[in-house]
Symmetry: C2
Subunit: 258 residues, 2 copies
C-alpha cells in the first residue's frame, strides 16, 4: 500500500512519526533527494562545491535561509520533519540519529536537496537493464576513488562512486539512458578497469554491500551523492544535518521531468 502512496502522503507519515524505514521503492517514479543542512556562513562555499562537482552533487533545490520548505520540488513540505530519519553532526562528529530535527533548527540554516541514483535506476529498470544490488536485495556498493573533486572554500573530497555491473552492450545503453538525467548524477564516470580510478577490490566496497559481477560483465561507475557527506566530514562544520543513509526526502517531481 505504501508503495503506491503519493509523495505528500509519505511525507505526512514521516511527519506523524508513522514511517521510520528506508525509502527505496516508495513512490516509484518520483525523485528522491539527499539532504544536507548547513549554516548560512558555509552555504556559499558548499553551493560552490556542488556547482563545481555537478556529477556527484546535482542540486535539485535550496531553501531560503531559515525556511524549511523546499518550494521548488515539494510545496508545503517541511524538511525538518518530512524525512523518516536524520543524522546530526557537530564539528564532523555524528552526535545523534533522529526522526525529526526541529530541536536543531535555526534561523541561519540552509537546506540543500541533492539528486540521487534512485531516479536513474528506475529508468534502467524500466528499460530492461539489470540493477544488480536491487536483484540481490542489497545496498549499492560504493567506493572511494583516486579522483579529486574540485575544492571550494572549506569543502574538498575524493570522488565517491557507486557501481553497477553490466554486459558491455548494456553499459553502452546505460550511458545513453543516464546521460539525460544530469540531476541524478548523469552518465557514468568510468567503465571497466577499476584500478585506473584507484579501486583495487570490488568485493570490498567502502560503503554499502558487495554484489555479484557475472562473467563478461564490466563494472560501471557513477558519481555518488555520498561525496557530499565525505566533504562535510572533512570540513567539520559547527553543525551539519543530513538524511540517514537510505532514508531520503521524497519530492513531488517526477523522474522523467528532471
Amino acid at each position: 500500500m505504501l508503495k503506491s502512496s503519493l509523495p505528500s502522503e509519505i511525507r505526512q507519515l514521516c511527519r506523524d512519526k508513522k514511517l521510520d524505514a528506508p525509502t527505496s521503492g516508495l513512490a516509484p517514479g518520483y525523485v528522491q533527494a539527499n539532504l544536507v543542512v548547513l549554516p548560512y556562513s558555509l552555504a556559499f562555499d558548499f553551493l560552490l562545491f556542488c556547482q563545481r562537482n555537478p556529477k556527484p552533487c546535482p542540486i535539485l533545490d535550496i531553501t531560503e535561509v531559515g525556511n524549511p520548505e523546499p518550494r521548488l520540488i515539494a510545496c508545503n513540505a517541511d524538511i525538518r520533519t518530512d524525512l523518516p530519519r536524520y543524522r546530526v553532526f557537530k564539528y564532523g562528529e555524528l552526535i545523534t540519529e533522529t526522526t525529526d530535527i526541529k530541536e536543531f533548527w535555526r534561523n541561519d540554516l540552509v537546506a540543500f536537496l541533492i539528486g540521487c541514483s534512485f531516479s536513474f535506476e528506475n529508468v534502467m529498470l524500466n528499460s530492461g537493464l539489470p540493477v544488480r544490488h536491487i536483484e540481490e536485495g542489497k545496498n549499492v556498493p560504493m567506493y572511494k576513488t583516486n579522483i579529486q573533486c574540485v575544492p571550494a572554500g572549506k569543502f574538498s573530497s575524493s570522488l565517491i562512486v557507486s557501481m553497477r555491473p553490466l554486459l558491455s552492450s548494456d553499459a553502452i545503453r546505460a550511458v545513453e539512458l543516464t546521460s539525460r538525467y544530469h540531476k541524478a548524477h548523469g552518465s557514468p564516470i568510468h567503465v571497466g578497469n577499476p584500478e585506473l580510478i584507484g579501486i583495487y577490490d570490488l568485493q570490498k566496497p567502502d560503503y554499502g554491500d558487495a554484489v555479484t559481477v557475472h562473467e563478461k560483465e564490466v563494472p560501471v561507475f557513477w558519481a555518488c551523492g555520498v561525496t557530499t557527506q565525505a566533504a562535510i566530514l572533512q570540513a567539520k562544520p559547527e553543525l551539519a544535518i543530513t538524511h540517514a543513509p537510505g532514508y531520503m526526502f521524497i519530492s513531488d517531481i517526477k523522474d522523467i521531468n528532471i
Copy 2:
C-alpha cells in the same frame, strides 16, 4: 590574424590594451562567457538565482572570494584585465565603461562566468543551420518575456530571450543540437507564437537588432544571459561589474566540451 589567435593570446591583447572590440568570431570553437562581479555579501543569493534559472544563467566558473583568476576555465587569466571592455554599476546605475577594472577590484568581490549563445551558434553553423543575425551582420534580437524567473533573495527578473528564425524542420534539428549544450542556454524555451510568451512585435526587440523572418520560418526563442544583467539592475547592489555587451571573456574551454 586575430580570428585564428588562441584564447590566451586574445586575453593578453586585452591586458596590453591592444584590443577594444566585440569578441564575436574571435577564437572560434572556444567558449565565450558573460561576466558578473558582485560583493561576497550578495554572492550566495546570486548563485542561488543562477542555480534556480539554469537556462538563462548557466555557470561556467566562479572565482574564489577576492581572487580574479577563473581557474576552471582559464588558468592564469585575470578577469580584471582580460576582457576588452567592462561596465561598472553602483546601486543599479551605470557609472562608467572601461577597459580594465583594477581600480574597482576589492578583496570581497566574486566573479561569475556565465555561458553565452556564441557556443551553440557555432554548433548550428557547423551543422549547416542558418543564424540570421550573423548572416545580416547584426546583433541578435532579444526580448523581455512574460515568464518570471524563480527569484532568489534580492534577485528577480522576467526571462529575457534571444530569437533566431528557422524553418520548422531546422527548428527541430536546432532543438536536438542545442539540448546537449546546457552550459550555453541549452534547448530553446519556446518555438512559434511569440504572443504566448508576451512578445507582441518581433520587429521591435528590447535589446539588439531586428532581423528578417522569411516566409515559412518560425521564431525560435532561447533563454539569454542578459537576464542576469536585468536581475542586477533590479537588485541595485552597491557595486556590480559586467562585461560590456558583446565584449566577452574568452575561455580556454572548447565549445564541444561543455
